[in-house]
């Protein structure tokens, strides 16, 4: 997709086409809270992260598209539906498609918009008699942001970015072992991201880029849906108030065309 965007951008007279790849490591924390604010679940773990990206200047805007995948596991500390304290683990696969556009408003300062589609598979392991199950989260994030750039010696650049936004849509596909698969809506979400990056040129249009970022998204409790086994209502389920946060460091290379 990124290469297609580059080709389209090139065909429409876009300037400053670059493509990049990065590898990194992310610390990921997931917390769920009950309706009275009590903690239900806390997960924490490290995910390996890979990203492909493309950038271009078109129509007066700086466009950036990226595809990111993170994989790993988190340690799970929570409770069962019947109140037993449970420690187990969850396997995580996160995919993010992102598109942002920024344009300069002041020297070295840009403002912009960002849209992201997040797909997360979370597979919680069973613990003894307490059964685990897989979950698939899908949500959109929309944000406004700002970027500040500073030139560094040797033609390099240091930049910081900040993004603030909301999640206008999200859902959870739930596959409980004792009920038919169901889809639950996520509550309203808010998120922020802060990013700092240092980029320096190499040779022949190549550059390297070191980046660190922290982000967080919080969802309110989603509304409940009936669980069924065939035609029979066997219970109900909803996604509790949830906060996912993390930070990561990545190292990447970009090529200017």
């Amino acid at each position: 997709m990124l290469w297609a965007l580059l080709a389209v951008g090139s065909a429409h007279g876009c300037q400053g086409l670059t493509a990049g790849a990065a590898l990194g490591s992310a610390d990921s924390t997931w917390q769920e809270q009950g309706e009275q604010g009590q903690r239900l679940v806390r997960e924490q773990g490290r995910l390996a992260r890979a990203q492909l990206s493309a950038e271009a200047h078109c129509l007066g805007w700086a466009w950036r598209a990226s595809a990111t995948q993170a994989r790993g596991s988190r340690a799970y500390d929570g409770v069962s539906t019947t109140g037993t304290s449970i420690r187990t683990g969850s396997r995580i696969v996160q995919s993010v498609l992102a598109l942002d556009a920024m344009r300069p408003f002041w020297p070295q300062t840009e403002l912009g918009l960002q849209a992201e589609l997040h797909l997360t598979r979370r597979d919680i392991a069973s613990a003894g008699l307490v059964l685990g199950y897989p979950e698939k989260f899908q949500h959109l994030q929309m944000a406004v942001g700002a970027r500040q750039r500073w030139a560094t010696e040797g033609g390099g650049e240091f930049q910081i970015e900040g993004w603030w936004g909301a999640s206008p849509w999200g859902r959870l596909k739930l596959d409980l072992p004792n009920a038919d698969a169901s889809t639950l809506p996520l509550g309203r979400g808010r998120h922020w991201r802060a990013l700092a990056a240092w980029q320096a040129p190499l040779a022949d249009g190549w550059s390297w880029r070191l980046q660190a970022q922290a982000d967080s998204i919080s969802w309110q409790r989603g509304s409940s849906r009936a669980l069924r086994r065939g035609e029979v209502v066997s219970g109900s389920a909803w996604q509790p108030a949830t906060r996912q946060s993390g930070w990561d460091v990545s190292l990447g290379w970009t090529k200017a065309f």
């Binding site: 539906t81 019947t82 685990g132 979950e135 086994r229 909803w238």
Partner: protein
């Protein structure tokens, strides 16, 4: 006391142990007692009937459950609360301030995270701080946080009889438990249970126990995901016998009772282990454990003794 509490917890998990080890051989069943509104079992409903019969038995007895990812609400949370209160009764009596013999005292405890409360009225007949025949606890939950849910309503527990030493391996204890409009509320959904049951535990040695849950009548009504549902259980009896097996134990479980529910169109079926598991009128369904993870459901729609329709389900889909 620790062993007693462990047994109390085990008494509710043993049905799951049966599925894990295939203990007790095949679980099958036969016709239950007559009912005024008996549901015919057909090829269209025998899976539903079997699921309802098994899952009802399990919600009374199971403490396994699911991990919390999404928050799930079903009847098991009610019984989990009852279990937790049963397990706390000896320590509550022991820890209560000493008062004159036969006095009743009222205490208030905070719930998880200090959210909501439980009001306890404890009666220690002889004032010795130990569990004795006639001792009782009346428990009123007020917006009490329990496992991320909110509990409200009341229950009473009384010791019908007790002999031996609960801290040892030889004892017998029988509780009478009355549940009065006990509700679990979560995510806008609510499940309320009312009824009477008896819990008996007999231990004659290490890993040699018999646990019995007898339910005269128990009704559960609720709204789940905006849908109203109910279940009624009567003459229910769950017996779990542990016998030593190596350093652990083997378990044999038998269950019987009569169930009606909204899933069954408010009609009733009776179920009993050993020989056809579920029967209504001439029709019958048989549930046979195939392995630790699979269960065979069979239908004899005309009651001629030949099971003409069958399907195999994972055990976890049924409970």
């Amino acid at each position: 006391m620790q062993q007693f509490n462990k047994l109390l917890a085990l008494s509710f998990v043993s049905a799951a142990m049966l599925s894990a080890c295939g203990g007790g051989g095949s679980d099958s069943g036969s016709a239950g007692p007559g009912s005024s509104a008996r549901l015919p079992i057909t090829s269209a409903n025998y899976v539903t009937v079997s699921q309802e019969a098994l899952s009802t038995s399990y919600f009374m007895a199971d403490s396994g459950g699911l991990v919390t990812g999404a928050k799930v609400l079903d009847e098991r949370q009610l019984m989990a609360f009852v279990r937790s209160q049963s397990a706390l009764m000896p320590s509550r009596l022991h820890g209560a301030p000493k008062v004159v013999t036969g006095a009743t005292q009222t205490l208030t405890e905070s719930c998880d995270g200090g959210l909501g409360s439980i009001s306890l009225t404890l009666t220690d007949l002889n004032g010795n701080g130990d569990l004795d025949t006639g001792d009782s606890a009346a428990i009123v939950a007020s917006n009490c946080s329990f496992n991320g849910d909110t509990m409200s309503g009341s229950m009473t527990m009384s010791v019908a009889s007790i002999t031996g030493n609960l801290s040892g391996t030889v004892y017998e204890v029988n509780y009478n438990i009355a549940i009065n409009g006990l509700s679990v509320i979560s995510g806008g959904d609510k499940i309320t249970g009312s009824g009477n049951m008896r819990l008996g535990m007999v231990s004659t040695g290490l890993n040699r126990t018999v646990t019995t849950i007898s339910v005269d009548s128990f009704q559960v009504v609720g709204t789940q995901g905006g849908i109203n549902a109910n279940r009624g259980l009567s003459d229910f009896r769950f017996v779990d016998e542990h016998t030593p097996s190596g350093s652990s134990y083997s378990s044999a479980v038998s269950v019987s009772g009569t169930l009606s529910s909204s899933a069954l169109g408010e009609q009733a079926v009776s179920f009993v282990t050993a020989k056809p598991f579920v029967r209504a009128g001439n029709s019958q369904a048989r549930i046979t454990v195939q392995s630790g993870s699979a269960v065979l459901l069979e239908l004899d729609a005309n009651g001629d003794g030949s099971f003409e329709t069958s399907t195999t389900k994972p055990w976890y889909e049924l409970v």
